[in-house]
Amino acid sequence: MTKLAQWLCALALLGSAWAALALSPAGLQLPEPLRQALLPLPVYLLVSLGCFSLAAVGFRLATFNDCEEAAAELQEHIAMARADLRLRGLR
């Protein structure tokens, strides 16, 4: 089974579980605060996924160390490549 099929199965399972509880077809009586908290759950999970992604990006941005020598070496490579191409006739 492909990864996509696995993800879709998991999503379908969770989605049907949520629908069964939240839309209360056959008169399932959950306590009222629980139902109120359950109903926006998909949106809540999406928003928390977004928050987590934002935090991960921010953290990696803050902790990624500068590499001075690698930057200098890269600029050197660029200059050499430019000179080489100019030699071969590319403007």
Binding site: Q36, L41, S48, C51, F52, L54, G58, L61, F64
Partner: protein
């Protein structure tokens, strides 16, 4: 060591997403269990907005991405080939 601006922006993002997550969690999950005459409810909008605001924001994001792709594709179209 990352540059000072990088670190400031990065940790700022972490703090912002943390605040957002805590506020949203309180709003959606904790508030239904608190009596409706408690004063904490003053700090939160009516519950419908807890769904409307993220959905609208998501749609705006999709719109922005779509427009961006359109602009980039428009700019990169090549003129008709001239014969050599």
């Amino acid at each position: 060591q990352a540059t000072a601006t990088d670190r400031a922006v990065g940790f700022g993002l972490v703090a912002f997403s943390l605040v957002l997550f805590v506020y949203y969690t309180l709003w959606i999950i904790v508030l239904p269990f608190i009596d409706s005459d408690h004063s904490i409810h003053h700090y939160f909008l009516p519950r419908e907005y807890a769904v409307i605001i993220p959905v609208v924001a998501g749609l705006l994001l999709l719109l922005f991405i779509g427009v961006f792709i359109m602009v980039v594709m428009w700019k990169s179209r090549k003129p008709a080939r001239k014969s050599d």
